[in-house]
Point group: C2
Chain length 331, copies 2
């Protein structure tokens, strides 16, 4: 397999272990549409070299794709450029390992959906949390019927702010906290429950964002799903720097026969059948890029383009609702 | 002080310790508007007698108030009758220790507000969680500026279903899970933050409610507050019966300088100033009815009629939104 990468803004590293272990050809790296200097692409190159890869550097990602004719493009530029890169590759029947959100607005998402439908290339979103040991164990437990019928879910994403690159400071280059952060929970609640979203309302705020322009730093979204399941997610970047982990990912899934909760890297089940609250052993971690290779091979997987599209759609709908609601309150 | 009580459906017992310790005259008990038999008022009487009180039993609460001319009425009937009882007492300048929600719809709440404004009697809502050791400690910590400016809050109320009285099964007699259960969190988030609500959206569901008629069993509400604070609450009655406590009350308050969380009866603070996550010692528990006696005496307190009105208003707005949204989805 021949691999190339566009940009260094996101989670391209999810692919690296598998590329390494398969000894694939990591042929090239380019910046996105904002240039090598603005995007710090030389630092990305240095990081890849430290990892033992020797990609050729391009300043034009279209030229890279056309020259290299790779099997897989890792799409990892500034977030608002993601869809254009993915569409260009898909139009050439190249597989795309794609940062989320897949698109920065609903119009662009529709374009991308058409490109996916018309391509022989496969697309997977970098919605990686599903592959963590706790989430894998939760999915298994739900599949075994251990909590009965799912009725309510609530999720948390809380990140350290740290020093964010400048492109986070403007909506022209940053999609917002719901499509960038909350989207993980939007994806995992859909995946864990097997339900689809039917409506959303949301709020977000950029107040007290430590000088980061228009970047929103807090948010919440409230979803209804098929079968009247209710789901909420809060996302913020106010996790204190002295916290022991960068992120605080949590989910609680309430069923008719029990409640499961993932907190601090542990899964617990509270049910009458389990005799109260018990810690559930983690499943082995899985590798998302290995699963994408499996998808490219035509294997069965939940890592579908459709699920990444749906997570993106309902993240964007939430953000758009929050934008509009803010405007109304400010009038 | 001469005390009487209407009904036995709620949390009248919040008053009993203080009544006992002051050796007040617990003069009378009546059913609400549905009769002694339907409301099981003889069982309530027996409970009061076990506690050492000897109230006279009335079958008509208006007659009880007119005959006994008490100083305080504990208003504790089926929830949809609360406002009528409170208004009747206030119109006679009698103090009211009032179950929540103060009213079962916004129209009735407006009537009650007028009655409060025109009465020399005081009213307090039975929003008791504020008086718990963890919540008292959280309020103190926030007041000391330990988490900076509050930006985001999320709360949980999860109860065991158990066997609910029949009046929970119809909206004619049961106000809904948001005004009955989530209202505690609606109150405590307003109280902890000192902010006011500015908008709400919500969802609730009666699906899979174990044969309890139209009773909703899951819910979530998403609020915006003054200064763009975002607040959410989920409430459900799906807590397994083998859980160690009846309820699972949680709140997380995210500020610019730290995050506090109340979980399982403990308060933790996570901040850089505290060097990471630390357990905060609880404050002594306080007695809500003692505080109401203080209010009647003209003392300073956060236990205002206005705060109970606001908690009720925003609970009812959430429920009404959820009703309307359900209708739209079902069309």
């Amino acid at each position: 397999m021949k691999i190339v990468q566009i940009g260094g803004a996101g989670h391209a590293f999810y692919a690296y272990n598998a590329i390494k272990s398969h000894a694939f050809d990591f042929a090239a790296l380019s910046c996105g549409s904002h240039g090598i200097e603005a995007e710090g692409t030389n630092a990305t190159l240095a990081d890849l070299q430290r990892r033992g890869f020797s990609p050729k550097l391009y300043s034009d990602w279209r030229e890279m794709i056309d020259s290299e004719k790779p099997d897989i493009v890792i799409v990892n530029p500034w977030f608002n450029d993601i869809a254009d890169c993915a569409i260009y590759a898909l139009d050439r029947n190249i597989n795309v390992f794609c940062e989320k959100p897949l698109a920065h607005d609903l119009e662009k998402l529709t374009e991308l959906e058409a490109a996916i439908a018309n391509s022989r290339g496969k697309l997977a979103g970098m919605l990686e949390t599903r592959y963590e040991p706790t989430f894998t164990a939760a999915k298994k437990l739900i599949g075994e019927g251990m909590i009965g019928e799912i009725r309510l879910m609530d999720s948390r994403k809380s990140y350290k702010l740290g020093k964010r690159p400048d492109f986070y400071k403007s909506r022209d280059t940053y999609c917002g906290i719901i499509p960038w952060v909350a989207i993980h929970a939007i994806d995992w609640m859909m995946w864990l429950s097997g339900k689809r979203y039917t409506s959303v309302t949301a709020a977000h705020s950029s107040r007290a964002n430590f000088g980061n322009g228009t970047m929103d730093i807090t948010s919440a979204a409230l979803y209804t799903m098929t079968d009247n399941v209710i789901a909420t997610v809060t996302a913020d970047m106010l996790r204190p720097s002295k916290a022991t982990t960068h992120g605080d990912d949590r989910v609680r899934v309430v069923g008719t026969e029990g409640i499961l909760e993932i907190t601090d890297g542990a899964l617990t089940l509270l049910s009458d059948n389990s005799g109260g609250k018990v810690v559930v052993p983690n499943e082995p971690a899985r590798d998302i890029f290995e699963d994408f290779l499996n998808v490219i091979d035509g294997g069965e997987s939940d890592l579908t383009a459709e699920s990444a599209i749906e997570a993106t759609r309902w993240a964007l709908k939430a953000r758009d609702y929050a934008d509009k609601a803010n405007l109304e309150v400010n009038v």
